[in-house]
Symmetry: C2
Subunit: 538 residues, 2 copies
């Protein structure tokens, strides 16, 4: 027996219409180098419909890929909706990728146009002849004085918009592609994830819920996590969909500028990677603000950082977990009721977890070879695998041999995790970052957190170094706070009560900075390369 409900598709344009019809007086503030711009959602909606007209005029194909190369801004949000709402596919290019990767990705996705912020135009323009399918480069002038090439392919965003007619949106197939995002794995070519209208709608509802980001009509949301990467964690869709106002940091990603926006614009919710919050802390501590939650993810949030925020800003950081392949947010460390009266230490440990999957996402941990489920005792670890309506099934035209999905239909995450009795996820490591010592596994993430709890330590990354007897042994790469000095002995002494004896790093190297990936995560690949010839003592 079939239900007798409307077959009403879950689409991005139904989100758009919701915003346009009901939240016209919500605002979008963008902090461009060229000055702050402010618009209402009503103005944004009208511009977005005209942008749909621009895509028609430019002759972009019915499901043509619309590339973007820019910061978080109102214009980027116009693209986020105009492309999918006209049936086309938004393709966000990461401004921090290497030139070869950008070329590969634009060609692989077959982008027909790239919309680029003037502040990052010099990163894109030199590559334009290598991007074989790109017919137009539309410059969004966010300030600065980067030269705009005199080339027939180069167009101006505002000029196009001024000349355009607004269009009607009508996507009727919820399975249609809405957007693409490439993830730069540590090996092989970047891999493309293709989100559908359905998955975008459901992810939007998922991150809006109180157990996730809890966005409502009285929020002011500032996505620091970039729109050029992993969908800005869904905030670019969920904030308008909830009627929350938006604050966009534009190219001005300096900690001072972010703290200023939080304070002056009355931001209630913001989100970004740990490195950002590390930098913002001293600029926010002690200042008045309206923040109720800071979402953090991309890497594990060091407990010390979350606790520093609790003490100095008045709110703990909310850990979230996910990946490009999960749209990207799949779970959060929202504190379960049973810990409401626990001591600070216990609460901090809970908040640092990837936590409980959102309604709609299911998780399991398994032996990655046999797919044998591992017990949920918070000790046993296994590969974290997920399934649900906003988990990817396949990559877009992947290289031979790349398999995202198991034979029984679960998405492989490449993360190694434990789960407690309530199914709360604790990420132990990336599969490839585990250190194999004497047939047992050492979690580099756990070691890093223990080292980072030392008051003199700013950042720490641990990698495995080949060892003749044990296979691999841990090397700790430590960045000290400015002006501090410390010895290897001091660090190891600090670790003794915190980790098992056989986990103790064989050596500590003090470095100036942990190398980061294009999305701000620790680049273990670069660290391993740097210490490729390292010889452990004894």
């Amino acid at each position: 027996m079939r239900g007798l409900m409307q077959d009403s598709p879950l689409t991005v344009d139904s989100i758009f219409r919701h915003v346009e019809q009901h939240y016209g007086d919500g605002t979008i503030v963008t902090n461009n180098p060229g000055g702050v711009t402010r618009a209402t959602y009503a103005e944004w909606a009208q511009r977005t419909r005209k942008l749909g007209g621009v895509l028609d005029t430019l002759g972009i194909g019915a499901d043509g890929r619309v590339g973007t190369f820019g910061w978080n801004s109102q214009r980027h949000l116009e693209l986020y909706f105009a492309a999918p709402c006209t049936g086309r596919v938004l393709h966000t290019l990461n401004v921090r990728l290497f030139p070869e990767q950008l070329t590969y990705i634009a060609n692989h996705a077959e982008d027909e146009v790239v919309f680029v912020d003037r502040t990052v135009l010099p990163l894109l323009w030199p590559l334009i002849d290598t991007m074989k399918t790109v017919k137009h480069v539309v410059v969004m002038d966010d300030g600065g004085d980067n030269e705009i090439p005199d080339d027939s392919r180069v167009l101006d965003y505002e000029t196009l918009l001024a000349d355009a007619q607004p269009v009607e949106f009508a996507v009727t197939d919820e399975w249609r592609a809405a957007s693409m995002c490439y993830t730069s794995g540590t090996t092989g070519n970047p891999k493309g994830v293709v989100y559908s209208h359905r998955s975008t709608f459901l992810h939007t509802m998922g991150v809006m819920a109180p157990n996730a980001f809890g966005l409502g009509i009285n929020d002011v949301a500032m996505p620091v996590v970039p729109m050029f990467h992993a969908n800005a964690w869904g905030i670019a869709q969920a904030a308008p969909a909830a009627g929350s106002s938006l604050v966009m940091p534009g190219a001005l990603m300096q900690p001072e500028a972010l703290a200023k926006l939080i304070v002056e614009e009355g931001v209630t919710f913001t989100a970004g990677v740990p490195t950002i919050w590390q930098g913002v802390l001293p600029h926010l501590a002690g200042r008045p603000h309206k923040l109720r939650d800071i979402g953090c993810g991309g890497s594990a949030v060091p407990k010390a950082l979350s606790e520093a925020y609790r003490e100095q800003v008045g709110i703990p950081i909310l850990q979230a977990w996910g990946m490009t392949e999960t749209h990207p947010v799949a779970s959060s460390g929202v504190l379960p009721k049973r810990y409401q009266d626990a001591d600070d230490e216990t609460k901090a440990a809970q908040r640092a977890r990837a936590g409980i999957p959102f309604l709609g996402v299911e998780a399991r941990i398994v032996d990655s070879d046999t797919l044998e489920p591992q017990p949920w005792d918070d000790k046993a670890t296994g590969e974290l695998q997920v399934r649900g309506p906003w988990c990817a099934q396949d990559y877009y035209n992947p290289d031979a041999g790349v398999e995202l999905t198991t034979a029984d239909g679960w998405m492989k995450t490449g993360d190694v995790a434990a789960m407690d009795a309530f199914g709360s996820i604790r990420i132990a490591d990336r599969t490839k970052d585990l250190i194999k010592s004497g047939g047992e596994w050492i979690s580099s993430v756990d070691l890093e957190n223990a080292i980072m709890s030392h008051p003199k330590v700013k950042e720490a990354a641990v990698v495995g170094i080949p060892h003749p007897k044990w296979d691999e042994r841990p090397l700790a790469c430590v960045v000290l706070n400015a002006g501090e000095e410390a010895t290897e002995e001091e660090i190891l002494e600090h670790l003794k009560p915190l980790v098992a004896k056989w986990w103790m790093p064989d050596a500590v190297e003090f470095i100036d900075e942990v190398p980061k990936t294009s999305v701000g995560k620790f680049s273990k690949k670069d660290l391993r390369a740097k210490f490729a010839e390292y010889e452990l003592k004894s």
Copy 2:
């Protein structure tokens, strides 16, 4: 181009697994006449799986209708999931319907079994031979001393459960029917709405959102709105799905008992029809509580009631709007940002609106004959029509001529509404309750609200009385607060500054009680019958 995301169905059993896996220590408290029972979601989940086994043992068909006839309780929640999660169809029978309606509905739905609370067994058992497809009556002993018939069809819930084996749940088609609910229109036979797994999942996410009920892991939710009607406004699914604990009032629906539960069980969110809150107010005023929101719907919330709650309980009532055909919740009067600093009067008027549709639901007002859209100026009225994934398409095997959907795919609500520039809905009346006077329409709801703002008035209902000259003229039926006295002149004097002159009722009749429908709404049909021979003066 198609998205490359998992084709993961939106089902009630995915909600069930989420609760079972992650919120095992959440609790369900039921206030039965036989005593308070408490269980964890872990215990509930295990019992629900065994209840699935019971349905197998009883030989209920693969999509057999599982009738229920009972109050809000843990057992009812077990049925809410066991039936759909085994592919069967939950069918809630309204304990307040007339015997003939119950017989009609059970036969029309072809219920194979009815699960009945012992406290309401005497309402069901005399009808059992008229319910042609019902093979079993399973008694849920919630206390009291109603005799349990010695009949081979009668079984005991706990005995069946004790003997049953837990089963696996695996519904894979999101379009499959999950549950049914009949709505007793004022004319014609009751009409059945068939909810799908998909619509149930999406409605659950919809009511969970911050702009709706905002349910999260730290909430304690008490649905006073009955599970036997309109899905308990989705709270029976959304509270467990959010990890909120549940408090169930059972058969003890007296105002004192409800207030006691709110105070003693730390209820943070509750919901029910206005009449309930009218009764609860004196028992709650001035007592300590943890309520953050009270949802109200079914009828328009009188402004005076909402304001009394704001003043005496510390929180205003949240108006919500919907109907059985919308699962049932489609919009809420959550206060938009632009009114945060408005005066109390303006805020009260906003909160009394049906408000903004939830993400996923679209609304329009049209001329019901021509489907011509009416302007959103808060003045023009038209039939409210909605569409979206949790709006019904058709009734179940309806009588000839019953059409729910317009030619262009919108659901007809039968409500007359205005919408403001932001698409906020203000219900003017039910189409059939409008009073036609001299070719113009008078809103009975507006008149009632104006009368109810008189301090001596407890309730007021206005109906149209035939009039030789004007076609119809309003008659006000007024219930005074206990111990009060008032005259017709006093009431009319109060109305003068509040309504247009031609809206003034031609007569005021003082009555002891406004007749109510089975779901607690004013029964205009009964009032019209009562005053069928009424003769207006002049």
